[in-house]
């Protein structure tokens, strides 16, 4: 009797746990609508695709878990020790071993291949630079230094527009972010885009997005970067093209006003690595390519091994 009670309580505990997986898939979605304890909004097409992949894996793993849990709990009840009972004497079954090796292998390899294309859309198929707004983002402890090319369309020239923690982009346009950290590793993370990209000192990494609708988002630093890591937050404003243009020209005229009185000579010496190619390894066979770090443009020239 005690055995039976014990077995049933184990069964119930196991069942609750087993249901957790499916409940998670369905229940949470319903609950989430009201309490938002689930995936954040999807702001880009990529976010939707990442969520599809996430949900596919959630379904597969939930089904597997429920199957395992149900079998486990059933065995625990069915084969609990009984007085005078004798266990079967059985060492295994090669056929079963092959089945439960091959099926999981096929599933996970399929998941790998399904993930592959999406991964390449996120991290390899960047928009062409002439078809995108290119923004140079250089995080440091504990802020995001953001730089637009300005009127001349070139980076690291006096008319560059710089902001701190304020990233403005137009809706419906490809945005290409070039990241390089000034001190330690940071990570550019916008939860609504489902995309994260580390910013590493000494090398340039890239991430891109295209947000169809205007909105306000937060840029979170996702890589531990020191004691202010938790408050290293940026603001991303997605405007209509018109609003963005207005903001941009306002920034430009402010910059022009700053530059107008005594013309400040650019600190940068002329040369290959101080133009807009400073952040990107130049195409072709240029022997050295450099990274300009910090605001002292051109002061430091370093070899970058970008791993790309």
């Amino acid at each position: 009797m005690i055995n039976r009670i014990r077995a049933y309580s184990i069964a119930i505990a196991g069942f609750l746990l087993g249901s957790a997986g499916t409940a998670l898939a369905q229940g949470s979605k319903v609950v989430a609508r009201y309490h938002r304890y689930w995936l954040p909004d999807q702001a880009t097409a990529i976010a939707g695709k990442v969520d599809d992949m996430f949900n596919l894996i959630l379904w597969i793993t939930s089904v597997v878990f429920v199957l395992v849990a149900v079998v486990l709990v059933y065995f625990l009840i069915r084969y609990r020790a009984r007085p005078g009972g004798k266990a079967i004497f059985y060492h295994g079954n090669t056929r079963l071993e092959i089945i439960w090796t091959v099926i999981p292998a096929l599933i996970v390899i399929a998941l790998g291949f399904l993930s592959k294309d999406l991964w390449s859309q996120i991290k390899q198929q960047f928009p062409a630079e002439n078809d995108a707004l290119v923004i140079d983002v250089r995080p440091r402890q504990f802020q995001w230094d953001i730089r637009y090319a300005g009127a001349d369309g070139k980076f690291n020239t006096p008319d560059d527009i710089t902001t701190i923690n304020q990233l403005h982009v137009p809706a419906g346009k490809n945005v290409l972010i070039k990241l390089t950290a000034q001190d330690v590793i940071h990570s550019f993370f916008v939860p609504e885009f489902r995309v994260k990209q580390d910013a590493v000192p000494g090398m340039v990494t890239k991430t891109w997005f295209n947000v169809p609708k205007p909105g306000h988002f937060e840029i979170a630093c996702a890589e531990l970067c020191g004691l202010g890591h938790y408050r290293m937050r940026g603001y991303l404003t997605v405007d209509t093209q018109a609003d963005f243009d207005a903001w941009y020209s306002k920034q430009q005229s402010e910059k022009a006003a700053q530059l107008a009185p005594p013309p400040v000579a650019p600190a940068a010496p002329t040369g290959g690595s101080t133009t807009d190619s400073a952040l990107i390894p130049p195409k072709g066979d240029t022997a050295t390519h450099g990274t300009v770090t910090g605001d002292s443009a051109g002061a430091k020239k370093t070899d970058t091994a970008t791993g790309k």
């Binding site: 295994g92 079954n93 071993e97 998941l111 592959k116 390449s120």
Partner: protein, 611 residues
């Protein structure tokens, strides 16, 4: 099965008697600087439990800040023990917070789980299970323990130096960890490195000893494929240790040089510190180099912490299902497959690091594939339970918890193996939930299972089963309440390692989950005191165990509990595999490995149960 052939011929070495007499050992020789593998194992047990408490305490402080941000540490978390330098007026500060989770993970990984899985079970079990009198190198074994002590003391000492202990995460990503100005931690981070270098030497000594002992000192008849699975698992683990630890040590050596000799292995040129150029480093280094080295060690490390747990679980499931382990060889092959594949998956920690995305795809596929041998193990454990006579003892309950919790931890790993999904959940609480399902739900439950299972052999007394069951059920419930919701946090975009999630409006609404987790974690933490109490109470008052309280087959149960120095009066001869439970060749439901079978009966039984 190979047992058939061996039964008829009696191996020759059986009659070799226990030659050397033991002179009276002083207290120091017997309990402190002991050469006896069992005593050394027990020493590792107590040191690992001590650091489990330290690491757990730090975790609860981390949770306190997340559950009740900005509130003073309550008396029951011993706020008075927290140095003023890291918590002014008992309120946790941002730099303290980074220190707390860094040291929590460091203690748990290197000073609690590893010594428990390898130091305790490796030392205690290997000679007993293979029928050896001791380890191959007893002095090396003693040194291995006594090097881990200064390593632990150095790590603890870092709490009392200026600037406090390391705060760059247990993964110590450079350049954050490579330049003191980036964290404000000077000596503390150096002590972190030096401590792990010393501990690395200790681990390598242990690994060499285990491998040598298993290869050379098995009793007659103890073929490799008759070895119990815990010994097999620790054997493979020792090989991983021997190959992985030197890589960590080398990486730490380079890091310490960057920190103290101003080399630039991990430091590129042109860095700034709060806007000013970083002085003293010429640059030319690569931050990603650290990550490659660290994870080349770090991923095998995960298996170093889980393979012994798998071996322990296999043993205990067979014993309390009273059945042969299902697929003994499949178990060994899958452990070996995990150990091999474990070397080519490290890049899955670096998908978002800036590593070439093509490489990311490659590491994704290898990572997906490594899920397969783990799945094989789960299915074989289920197969072991099928048709058994399952006894719900305390070790069995904990081993069953391992099976179910490890299943969750394994399945949640598939999410982050998928590169695009990882792009979202990387560095979120989803990962924190996952790793705790593997290391607490996995390793630690197996640790509880193993300690309660072999406690009678260590001390000659049973652990109190009632207290054991209370501890188990409370742990099981609070464990899930603590770590399951972390997945939800991660799915909602909650980054890990942030001092105050309320900084971010998109996380503020998650505070109720954080508070719930913290309350559960506090209950989970204090439940562990029940285990410690049970251990000490049972040392004095536990029921006398006898040689073989669980009616188990392996050789450690053929000798007295506790076992004397030298283990075996007569080196045993082994006649069959370790899991011949409920065999038709005997009237009992178990068949000790050193017990020959009547050849007549064997003939009758031929064909039954063998495939």
């Amino acid at each position: 099965m190979e047992s058939t052939a061996q039964v008829l011929e009696r191996p020759h070495a059986t009659e070799e008697h226990h030659g050397h007499a033991h002179p009276q050992l002083s207290f120091l020789e017997k309990y402190v600087f002991s050469l006896d593998h069992k005593v050394i194992g027990i020493q590792f047990m107590f040191s690992s439990l001590f650091f489990l408490l330290v690491g757990g305490w730090l975790a609860l402080l981390v949770r306190w800040q997340l559950g009740f941000p900005g509130q003073a540490i309550p008396w029951y978390l011993a706020g008075f023990l927290v140095p003023e330098s890291i918590a002014s007026a008992s309120v946790i500060q941002p730099n303290t917070y980074n220190t707390l989770f860094t040291m929590h993970a460091t203690f748990m990984v290197f000073f609690a789980i590893m010594p428990m899985m390898i130091g305790l079970f490796g030392n205690f079990l290997i000679p007993l299970q293979i029928g050896a009198r001791d380890m191959a190198f007893p002095v090396l074994n003693m040194l291995s323990f006594w090097l881990s002590v200064p390593a632990g003391l150095l790590m603890l000492a870092s709490f009392f130096v200026e600037g406090g202990p390391a705060s760059a995460g247990w993964t110590s990503y450079a350049p954050l960890s490579a330049v003191a100005d980036f964290t404000g931690v000077g000596v503390g981070q150096n002590l972190w490195g030096i401590s792990l270098l010393v501990l690395g030497v200790s681990s390598i000594m242990g690994a060499i000893n285990y491998i040598t002992t298993i290869i050379n000192m098995r009793a007659p008849g103890m073929t490799m494929f008759r070895m119990p699975l815990p010994t097999w698992a620790i054997f493979i683990t020792a090989i991983l240790l021997l190959l992985a630890i030197p890589v960590l040590s080398a990486a730490i050596g380079l890091l310490l040089m960057d920190r103290t000799l101003h080399t630039s292995f991990f430091i590129p040129a042109g860095l700034t510190v709060t806007g000013n150029p970083l002085a003293g480093h010429t640059g030319g280094g690569q931050p990603l180099l650290w990550q490659h080295l660290f994870w080349f060690f770090g991923h095998p490390e995960v298996y170093i912490m889980i393979l012994p747990a798998m071996g322990i679980t296999s043993e205990i499931l067979a014993v309390f299902a009273r059945k042969p382990i299902f697929g003994y060889r499949a178990m060994i092959f899958s452990i070996s497959a995990i150990a091999f594949l474990g070397w080519i998956v490290w890049g899955h920690h670096m998908f978002q690091s800036g590593m070439n995305p093509v490489l990311g795809t490659t590491f994704m596929i290898s990572t997906m594939v490594i899920a397969v041998p783990s799945a094989i193990k789960v299915f074989n454990w289920l197969g072991t339970l099928w048709g058994g006579q399952i006894q719900f003892t305390v070790p069995m309950l904990n081993a069953l918890a391992f099976v179910s919790m490890f299943t969750i931890g394994g399945l949640s790993g598939i999410f982050m193996a998928s590169t695009p999904v990882d792009s979202f959940i990387h560095d979120t609480y989803f990962i924190v939930g996952h790793i705790h399902y593997v290391l607490f739900g996995g390793s630690l439950f197996a640790g509880f299972a193993g300690i309660t299972f072999w406690f009678p052999k260590m001390f000659g007394r049973m652990m109190n089963p009632t207290i054991g069951k209370i501890h188990f059920w409370l742990t099981f419930i609070f464990f899930n309440c603590t770590f399951f919701p972390m997945h939800i946090l991660g799915i909602a975009g909650h980054m890990r390692r942030i001092f105050d999630p309320n900084e971010y409006p998109h996380l503020a609404h998650l505070q109720p989950i954080n508070t719930f987790i913290t309350v559960s974690a506090l209950l989970l933490g204090f439940t562990q005191l029940i285990f410690i109490a049970n251990l000490f109470i049972s040392l004095r008052t536990g029921k006398r165990a006898g040689n073989n309280p669980w009616r188990s087959n392996t050789l450690e149960w053929t000798v007295p509990s506790p076992t004397g120095h030298g283990n075996f009066e007569v080196v045993p001869t082994v006649y069959h595999g370790p899991y011949e439970y409920s065999s038709p060749m005997t009237d009992e439901d178990f068949l000790p490995q050193d017990q020959p079978v009547d050849p007549e009966r064997m003939k009758l039984a031929q064909g039954m149960g063998h495939h």
